[in-house]
Amino acid sequence: MNLLSVITFLPILFALVVWFLPNEKHVRPVSLGLSIVHFFVSIVLLVKFDISSAGLQFVEQTPWVQSAGISYFLGVDGISIWLVILTTFLTPITILGGWTSIQKKTRGFHVSIFVLATTMIGTFLAMDAILFYVFFEASLIPMYFIIGIWGGKNKIYAATKFFIYTMLGSVFMLLSIITLMVLAEGQLGQMSSSLLDFYKLDLNFLPGQFLSTQTLLFFGFALAFAIKVPLFPFHTWLPDAHVQAPTPGSVILAGVMLKMGTYGLLRFCLPLFPEATAEWGWIFLALGVVGIIYGALVAMVQPDMKKLVAYSSVSHMGYVVMGLFTLNAHGLTGSIFQMLSHGISTGALFLLVGMIYERTHSREIKEYGGLAVVAPIFSIFFIIVTLSSIAVPMTNGFVGEYLILMGTFMVNKAYAILAVTGVVLGACYMLWMVKKVFFGPPGKLIKDFQGKNLDLNKTEVMTLLPVVVLIFWMGLFPGHFIKYTKASVDHMINAKQGYYLKIEGRQKKVATIKYKSTRVTR
């Protein structure tokens, strides 16, 4: 059994364990324990990872649907490794985040979380386009249930919107994948959906024309990922989904699921369609910039805390997309780093908002005020996470944002200058919220709680502590994280035209699998 398969499918096993657990009371602790086990298993990956190689590692490849050249093909490289770890790291945290907030159907909830973990990890590890698509789409289902069952008042609307919106994008990706497979059949002699084979394809590109194969395919993929990211103007599902989702759902959604979009851009759009990326990348740079500013501006006037954080995600993910399309090492590294740090800090923000919502049952910013007096520990955590979110140096947020901005600056000064305003605006909306919620005289809500203990309990502190540690770790020693991605990023920059991925390590059956030709030559 390959390590990657273990990491991917362990949660499914856990889901079964939880499902058949005789006593519903044990569900929470058991899930927590299992998810922590999972996290440590994934750490093994980190330990064994060879940072000097840009190739795929721990590769596992077995034919799955030979007739269409689809294989069960998992592999990890510097681009995906941290996202896997992020997922396994956030899973226990989400379980802790739902410790008290999820009251009904706990069993189902934890099963959903585990299934979701499998699909997300699978998305990051899949090196076969169809396998990727399968995981990508399948991840919608558990998330749909998480929002729809444990969500807020308007949960069904939000869940459905989330599902359909995402699906709308991904079906065009499916179309593009199939087209690539067909092209692979023409060019490589056999149908294949392996990414490695896709990289070998020679895709027709006509400069300046929209209707060329490469451009259309590029946009087919990019649309799916842009919706997932979500890039302006495809972002409107996000605030709804976040506001309605339960706290753990929001954490996973913001923490990991959004990264599936940017990861896809990085894995598919950039290396597969180099010319189209070069020609049309400016659109994404521009949309990234627009997203940064727009998200920040709109976040500034949100009356609801969760909505504010949701729009801040739009802004932050705008940075990531912008960084990706700089096509230089700084931007790419920054983007990968920012994905991680956004996952951690925004996840933590949602966690925090959820914790306070549980106590006061309100997220209206104007009803708060003076919370710092009654919940000092909570405030400290919140402010630390806020600082990470607004990219104060020495927190994780800074490194990514800085590298992205610098990368952008090296490509296009105007965009970078515009994007830098996001730094200011980010501070504006976050600090505005902090001011309104924590500072000032006690607000309407807090008056009711005067004298009661609103502060965090030990479980919650234990939930947040790893996040805070990571925030500073990543901020102070980004090198520990960047070194894993370095080789891959450099390779991607150097091999822009004709990108390829080597398979590292055991070469036994993997690299070349001959599929039976499906065509009958008449």
């Binding site: 649907v65 007739s67 869940a159 459905t160 497979m181």
Partner: protein, 498 residues
């Protein structure tokens, strides 16, 4: 053409003979039993066994072919053809029949006083279906379709429910006969133009001259339209929702799966004559493309506003016909034939499984013959019947084409076949349609899992139906995960028809 036939041929049509013979058992028992309804043994077990044996006989034929290395065999001086498709589809039809009998036994909407007649008619409809599957000749195809349809008309009308079922039967009958007339008119023209109605002979006859012959064009169009009616393609789909809604649910399960499977196989055989590969037939391809696109959109969009679960699934089955047609488009080009036909057959098989499961779920929930199951009735299913709800969700997600279910792979094969033949825009509309469809497929899920109020109480006694739901749901997942062997079998079966 060999004008005589061999007695050995009878061996190959054994499934048909078995079905017919067994179908007589309940009726005869009833007749000899002073018109008293026979018991479970004759009304249920024997027909079930018959269906299974028929399926086994089909499989036996297949096994014999495989062992002898024969790809296909003509029977009865070329009236019938036994090949991979006949065998596979035959097995599926027989199994559908068996499942339908289970549903019928437990459903409240089938009159238990006439169960024997109902079973008789069901089995004879299956006989008709097998005939259509095996037909190598447009006339045989027509007679088979008629046999199947006439039995079904009567079955629809025989429902316990009084008003709607009669209306449904009326509509089905009138429109069905109307379409049959068009179909047979088309056969007449094809006969007139080509001088034959044998499909293998047609293959040799078809050429550019024939394709500019007005008779032939008329004939081909009419035959296509007639079959399009049976599979409910736009603009011939109007009967589908009404008839499905009015009929008893087990019967709908049978119609939505069996009839569609059979009619599509007929279409497949027609198109496999490579008639559409000629430049002159390009216009047909265009028409078919439009039909596919509009059918998908109409089916999915109309399903959006349905609150009646059965009607919603009816519209969804319309949309699925559109998807299958996309695959058939691929069959119409010379190098996409095998790929397209295999994808069509795979999709049909997956469609049969998931649709049958979905209708079984309806049958499971129906309280009385008059209860129209609304989506809102599913409230709280998840807490009362978690496994059933989960299975239904799996089926619905599969219908929506969400991976990793078989529905996704079915669509995947279809789309890849179509794309490799360059039907990009059709596929684009197809995927847009499937996005729209997600909305209504999710509605039952929403009601089942996300609302806490209670809906209808479930009668707990329908074990058979329940098991069918589980079996189909598991199949949907299993074939989803390991679609390859199934696909390969289908492909090798498909290769026998070309």
């Amino acid at each position: 053409m060999n004008l005589s036939f061999d007695a050995v041929d009878i061996k190959y049509i054994l499934p048909l003979i078995i079905l017919f013979t067994v179908s007589l058992v309940p009726v005869l028992v009833k007749v000899f039993n002073k018109n008293k309804e026979p018991g479970k043994i004759y009304n249920f077990l024997t027909p079930m066994l018959g269906a299974l044996i028929a399926a086994g006989a089909s499989a036996g034929v297949g096994a014999e072919f495989l062992s002898k290395g024969i790809s296909s065999k003509l029977l009865f001086s070329g009236a019938l053809v036994m090949d991979g498709v006949s065998v596979l589809a035959g097995i599926l039809v027989s199994l559908c029949l068996g499942f339908t009998i289970v549903l019928a036994k437990e459903s409240p909407s089938i009159n238990k006083n006439q169960l024997s007649e109902a079973v008789f008619l069901l089995m004879n409809a299956a006989v008709g279906m097998l005939t259509v599957l095996w037909a190598n000749n447009l006339l045989v195809m027509f007679v088979g379709i008629e046999m199947m349809s006439l039995c079904l008309y009567i079955l629809v009308a025989m429902s316990m429910e009084l008003k709607l079922s009669k209306e449904a039967a009326l509509k089905y009958f009138v429109l069905g006969s109307f379409a049959s007339a068009i179909l047979v008119y088309g056969i007449a023209f094809i006969y007139g133009a080509a001088g034959t109605v044998y499909l293998p002979e047609l293959i040799t006859q078809i050429n550019a001259t024939l394709l500019s012959n007005g008779y032939f064009l008329l004939g081909l169009s009419f035959v296509l339209f007639g079959l399009a009616f049976k599979v409910s393609l736009f603009p011939f789909y109007s009967w589908t929702p009404d008839v499905y809604q009015g009929s008893s649910t087990p019967l709908v399960a049978f119609m939505a799966t069996g009839v569609k499977l059979v009619a599509f196989v007929a279409l497949l055989r027609l198109i496999a004559t490579q008639v559409l590969q000629f430049q002159e037939a390009a216009v047909f391809l265009q028409v078919l493309q439009w039909m596919a696109v509009v059918t998908i959109l109409v089916g999915n969009i109309a399903a959006l506003r349905q609150d009646n679960l059965k009607r919603m699934l009816a519209y969804s089955s319309v949309a699925h016909s559109g998807y299958v047609l996309i695959g058939l488009l691929a069959v119409s080009s010379s190098d996409g034939q095998v790929l397209g036909a295999s994808s069509v057959l795979f999709y049909l098989f997956s469609y049969v499984i998931m649709t049958f499961g979905a209708f079984s779920f309806l049958s499971f929930l129906e309280k009385s013959h008059e209860s129209a199951l609304m989506i809102s009735d599913l409230r709280g299913m998840a807490s009362r019947r978690p496994y059933i709800a989960l299975s239904f969700s799996v089926l619905l997600l599969s219908l929506a084409g969400i991976p990793p279910t078989v529905g996704f792979f079915g669509k995947f094969y279809l789309f890849s076949a179509a794309i490799s033949e360059g039907f990009y825009w059709v596929v684009a509309w197809g995927v847009i349609g499937s996005v729209i469809s997600v909305y209504f497929y999710l509605r039952p899920l929403v009601v089942m899992f996300m609302s806490d109020e209670q809906g209808v109480d479930v009668e707990p006694s329908r074990l058979g139906t329940q098991n069918i739901i589980f079996i189909t749901a598991i199949l949907v997942l299993v074939i989803g995960f390991v679609s390859n062997p199934f696909y390969l079998h289908i492909q090798s079966a498909i290769k026998t028809i070309f």
